[in-house]
């Protein structure tokens, strides 16, 4: 029997078709994996199934009956349970409290904590998920916290369990435990949906695998009929390759170098686990990797938002491990971000005001504390022309520009600051072909001017087209170093997804 069927499901967000006519079905007792790159639409699809979003089109069937899932309560009533990627736990509460909230055992209006603890212990034993029922959730390791999430959904009688990137935060040992749990649940007749981009694991645990790419369903395969390489190919696929001219520049001195860099993320986990590389003037070094493998934390360390736990970082030979962003910029760091709203621009500020941020102190834009807004306008107008930012009014707010024009504004600003080391983090995200070409053109100009450029991107064609050297980042390490002429998209894709790490692709 089909436990869950998805029929022609689509979801439209402003400016983005996240799910495009997706149809598949999942048999009862199956472990069904959904894989795809970031932005492929996996999370959106799961949120639709779980009632957090309503689909723009299509139907859902549970146990072969058509249903309308408009809220999380509806989903729970249909015996679905979701274990989110971001845990929905209250760190201050105990394990038991976290598990039973919303379905508390009670004597009248009173919360029967004793019985709750007993019930949690019983459940925990029954499904062999060991937890300390009275421990404080916030003190527990991540693997155990995830078990709490699983127990939460099981308690509500979930027959269909949805796991959203469950292994993203687990250690290898915890992952093994998780898979043991999943097999046990399967043996009990539960159906499991499993979202991941870690192909190795998917191949280990899943029965069938669906591949999503750019919102569309690429295909469904049986595990025994496929392998990691084929999955990677389906995930990565062929993008429209832009003609990027080859530019040869003589490589200069080392601008940026880091050695055995370790960086922690906001939760305190190390996500950069000993990276060493350098970038020289006149070269573009591309870091390829799936989102979530430590790139964000690496960038944070490089721009001074966080300090590395250990390891060294040097800009132009000077030690830059414990400095502020302002000092890094003074030393010549420029940064193009993909997070335009939070990091790139001040959206309510006009084009005029955004264009000079970073060099607004000092001449020619200010004398002492007095700022010359006319000079700002002049400068901005020049940049608007140079970068073809539309519409061309420097008094428009940055927020009113399209994504592509916002990115151009960021570029204009960053490239006009005196710098010799440029960090370009996903510089063409959300841009159309024309804007993307423009960005590439500018980056190559920078290269010709002898700047050292570090390009971090999720688009392999971009990496291959622009980089002189390519580093592949996986789980906080550099797992491969090569050059564009010595590798292919598929090879890179495999490395990015952790396939065949043992055999490094040597340059």
């Amino acid at each position: 029997m089909k436990a869950l069927e998805v029929r022609s499901i689509s979801k439209m967000f402003p400016g983005n078709l996240a799910n495009d006519n997706i149809s598949f079905s999942v048999e009862k007792g199956e472990i069904f994996a959904i894989v795809g790159e970031n932005g492929a639409g996996k999370s959106t699809l799961m949120n639709i199934i779980y009632g957090i979003y309503t689909p723009s089109g299509g139907d859902l069937l549970v146990n072969e009956k058509e249903v309308k899932i408009r809220s999380v309560e509806d989903a729970i009533k249909l015996r679905m349970g979701m274990v989110h990627q971001e845990f929905m736990l209250i760190p201050r509460f105990t394990v038991t409290q976290n598990i039973v909230i919303g379905d508390e055992p009670h004597k009248g209006i009173f919360f029967d904590y004793g019985r709750a603890v007993r019930e949690v212990r019983e459940l925990s034993e029954r499904v062999s998920l060991v937890v300390d029922a009275t421990a404080v959730a916030g003190d527990l390791p991540v693997g155990v916290q995830q078990r709490i999430e699983i127990l939460k959904v099981l308690r509500r009688g979930a027959e269909i369990l949805i796991f959203d990137e469950p292994t993203a935060v687990l250690t290898p040992e915890e992952t093994v435990d998780l898979f043991v749990t999943m097999r046990k649940l399967q043996a009990e007749g539960k159906t499991i949906l499993f979202i991941s981009h870690k192909l190795k694991e998917v191949m280990e645990i899943a029965d069938r695998i669906a591949v999503l790419r750019r919102g569309k369903l690429q295909g469904i395969v049986n595990k025994k009929d496929t392998n990691e390489e084929e999955l990677a190919r389906m995930m990565v696929g062929r993008n429209v390759v832009l003609e990027i001219p080859k530019v040869d520049v003589e490589v200069g001195a080392v601008a940026f170098a880091c050695h055995d860099l370790h960086v922690r993320n906001k939760r305190g986990y190390e996500t950069v686990k000993g990276m060493s590389f350098d970038v020289r003037g006149g070269e573009i070094v591309g870091i390829a990797g799936v989102q979530g493998n430590g790139q964000d934390e690496l960038v944070n360390a490089m721009i001074g938002f966080s300090h590395p736990v250990s390891g060294s970082m040097e800009l132009n030979g000077k030690n830059m491990r414990l400095v502020t962003t302002a000092q890094l910029r003074k030393e010549g760091m420029s940064y193009i971000t993909e997070d335009r709203a939070r990091r790139g621009l001040v959206m309510p500020y006009t084009v005029r005001e955004n264009a000079v941020m970073g060099q607004h102190l000092g001449r020619p834009f200010s004398k002492g504390i007095r700022m010359d807004y006319d000079k700002l306008a002049e400068f901005a107008e020049g940049k608007v022309r140079e970068y073809d930012i539309r519409p061309g009014d420097v008094y428009d707010t940055a927020g009113s520009l399209s994504g592509g024009n916002q990115q151009k504004l960021i570029l204009a600003r960053e490239l006009s600051l005196p710098h010799n080391f440029l960090i370009a983090s996903q510089p063409t995200r959300g841009l159309d072909v024309g804007a993307t070409e423009f960005v590439y053109h500018k980056l190559l100009e920078e290269k010709k001017a002898g700047k050292a450029i570090l390009l971090i991107s999720l688009e392999l064609s971009e990496i291959l087209g622009l980089s002189d050297r390519i580093l592949v980042m996986f789980e906080g390490h550099i797992v491969g170093e090569t050059t564009p002429d010595k590798t292919t998209e598929e090879a890179l894709g495999l490395l990015m997804l952790g396939v065949g790490i043992d055999k490094k692709v040597q340059s």
């Binding site: 938002f305 302002a326 990091r343 001040v346 500020y349 941020m357 700022m371």
Partner: protein, 408 residues
């Protein structure tokens, strides 16, 4: 064209050009206006519900508020209006400036009183008072210079004190993560009680030893009092000073690097301030500077209270100037010009409210109108929502339906 040339050049000296900083959203002006109108309407209902004549009440309120010229007492009322407004504008600027930087400085009240008490001190403190007293006598008909200088010293010290008081809250926020709202509220009361229960109580350090009924601190020297203008009313230079301060605030916000960075911080305050940080802006330093200047503005208001009106720190002082400043800043949408207008409006309400007593309405009724206006501004999401709906509705009625156009 040519006649605008001179004016344009003249204004440019002060940095005023007609190049706006943003595409102004007309709703920004409508929201406070609508809030005020709604507040007035609701207040009318309250008056009517209590059996009094709202129209007569409002006629008295606005007629005697000093806003409407004509009538025998207008000069005096106008003077009162300006005297009161000066203080409200000062605290309003204080709160507005902090808002621009993303901070909710509720401490304008405490900073106001700290400024007041320090100004009082330098107004009567023997070494200072005697020096200027002597200078005044020596200068003869130029004695007003001594007054200017003494007043200036009191004001500067008062502003520094207010700024320092605010800086404490800023420091606690920046270095120890103490929420600005809570921090400033606590400091309000600390300042208030320190002043009213210690410094200015019977036999307190700042009160004369022998006092009978009316009490308060020492009186400030004559040379410390703000100069009178527009005799024979009580009007003093405070209104001029505060307009200068408003201009300076505007200049700070829109013509200096400090203001540029502060506004960038304020715009991104809700999303983590990462953009200014990524551009190397020193957020902690700017926040400290912001709080200090904000406190200084509130302290200026306190100086007006003492040096312009009371000439001593009265034992009968009651809180309210800082709280009103919050309302003024909200109604003025945190823009210096808006704050001036809002301050004048509230000043008018307070001035006219005294006359409302003739209609049997207590003079604190203006608080109700004010509070309601603030309440409606709190609801500004709702107000905007409905305003937008109304605008869309009217546009839809004026434009021909799309189908007809296509058919042609």
């Amino acid at each position: 064209m040519s006649e605008s040339n001179f004016t344009t050049k003249f204004l440019k000296i002060f940095g005023i050009d007609n190049r706006g900083h943003n595409r102004r959203d007309p709703l920004n002006v409508w929201v406070p206006l609508v809030s005020i109108v709604l507040a007035l309407i609701v207040s009318m209902i309250v008056i009517a519900a209590s059996g009094r004549n709202p129209f007569r009440a409002y006629a008295l309120l606005f007629g005697d508020s000093g806003l409407i010229p004509g009538g025998a007492a207008w000069r005096r009322e106008f003077a009162e209006l300006l005297i009161k407004s000066a203080m409200y504008i000062a605290t309003g600027l204080s709160v507005a400036l902090a808002f621009k930087g993303g901070l909710f400085n509720i401490g304008a009240e405490g900073q106001f009183w700290v400024g007041a008490i320090v100004a009082t001190f330098f107004g009567y403190w023997a070494p200072v008072a005697h020096t200027f007293g002597a200078m005044y006598a020596a200068l003869g008909s130029f004695g007003w210079i001594a007054q200017l200088l003494h007043g200036a010293i009191c004001i500067i010290m008062g502003m520094l004190a207010g700024g320092a008081w605010a800086a404490v809250a800023g420091f606690l926020y920046v270095k120890r993560g103490v929420n600005i709202v809570i921090g400033t509220i606590m400091l309000n009361w600390i300042a208030w009680f320190l002043i009213t229960s210690w410094l200015v109580t019977f036999n307190g350090p700042m009160t004369p030893a022998s006092q009978t009924f009316t009490f308060g601190s020492f009186y400030v020297a004559d040379t410390a009092k703000l100069l009178r203008i527009m005799m024979p009313t009580r009007l003093n230079t405070s209104i001029l000073l505060v307009l200068l301060a408003a201009y300076a605030t505007w200049f700070l916000l829109y013509k200096t690097t400090i203001g540029y960075e502060i506004r960038a911080i304020g715009y991104t305050a809700n999303i983590g301030m990462e953009t200014p940080r990524a551009q190397g802006i020193n957020i902690s330093r700017r926040i400290m500077q912001l709080m200090t200047i904000s406190g200084a503005l509130a302290g200026l208001g306190g100086c007006f209270f003492i040096l312009g009106m009371q000439y001593q720190f009265p034992g009968t002082a009651i809180m309210g100037y800082g709280w009103t400043g919050i309302g003024v800043a909200l109604i003025g949408q945190s823009e210096p010009l808006g704050v001036v207008l809002a301050g004048l409006f509230i000043g008018a309400l307070r001035t006219g409210a005294t006359s409302m007593q003739v209609a049997n309405i207590p003079k604190t009724f203006s608080n109700i109108i004010e509070g309601l206006a603030v309440g409606f501004i709190a609801l500004q999401v709702a107000v905007r929502y409905y305003l937008v709906k109304i605008i869309q509705h009217r546009r839809a009625r004026r434009a021909p339906p799309a189908g007809q156009e296509a058919a042609v």
